[in-house]
Amino acid sequence: MSPPPPPPVAVTAVPRLHPKARLQRDDVRGRDVLLYPEGLVVLNATGTAILGLCDGVRSIAQVVAALEQRYGAPAGTVKPDVSAFLDGLAAKGLVTYGP
């Protein structure tokens, strides 16, 4: 018994970090983490870059475009990773999508 999967998120949606979550540098282990009540998510460099662009203004499409430009990636190659990453955090309630 698990809830039905949410509908796919439109690229115009604006992803935001939930206020309960906080990005933090973990100096001792040389990595970035997302801290939240009673837990943490370890981020790789891409994860940090994605969350760094989620400023509550950029849409998913704009986050993707910014990453493509930054890494010189061909159009369309970045979007699946960004969506999977953000959807994973949204399933944990750490990212919300708004207009």
Binding site: M1, S2, K20, V28, L35, Y36, P37, L40
Partner: protein, 374 residues
Amino acid sequence: MDPKPLWLLAELTYKCPLQCPYCSNPLDFAGPRFKRELSTDEWCRVFREAKALGVLQLGLSGGEPTLRSDLEELVREAHGLGLYTSLITSAYRLTKERLAALKAAGLDHVQISIQGADAELSDAVAGTASYRDKIAAYHYTRELGFPLTVNVVLHRRNLHQVEALIRLAETLGAERIELANTQFYGWALHNRDVLMPTRAQLDEAWQVVQRERARLGTKLEIVWVLPDYHEQYPKPCMGGWARAYMTVTPAGEVWPCHAAGRITSLRFENVRDRPLDWIWEHSDAFTRFRGDAWMPEPCRSCPRKAQDFGGCRCQAFLVVGDAGVTDPVCSLSPHRPLIDAAVAEVERAAAAGAAPDEWTYRAAPASRALAAKG
């Protein structure tokens, strides 16, 4: 790999206006061992040493942590270090002004306990009229924009309220509700026969949890802490002994978990005498059961040992009298009959319709009496 701690539980004081009969604090919390509380400066130093050691999550607990008038200062220091700070409180007499001051100091998250879904039961379990303060504080946390966890310890007298408790947390707009079946340490072990639920109660509550999880999805996270006496295998206690977690008690002793101080065969160090990294790396209490070299059979050759780490050392000590044996709740343990007997006794009494005994409230006079008895 050399493990580094991620979590620090700072037990700021063992004083508490509530008297929960399942309290995990030591039975002798009011005795001489915990008398000389750490100062503000000492706690700040502990936080700095913890951060340098790898800690990222800080729980400010007790007893009742809001009884410390320097709590705002402690939060400010922890926040400045980048620690994610959670206040774990009963919310007794907690005002909106105090919470606002803690917010301004950088507090990240508030966890407030409740003992039942209505004032009558909640106050009866807490032994102190506190339900009204709790409900008020839940609203304050929402108004101030704190993420909120509602914490309930479950036992025979409140398990029937699981649905009402979830609805309450939902109405309050909480992020999480922690339904923690009583773990039998401290006062809970002392009151075990009164607190332990029947199998039927647990099954019914678990049905409710599954149904409510399906209904609520990500709107409210429902954490269900397993009743380990009724399980086949032990919990992976603390994610393994001295792997990720440490507790500092009000008077500065450092324990691998909040129940470990009862293990009389371990030697505990104090932050007043040693730096935290030394204690983590070299103290007897932390090194004795780290890794799996200490394991006897049946754990030693068991494929589950990387998963549950042989269960809980405290439970082995409290039930069997030897912290170095397999957790007795494991069905492969030769000591499992001790657990089965306790469970069977509860079922027998319930089937006979016997009126349950009264519990002992967690309170300083009872604590001193128990400490004197040894």
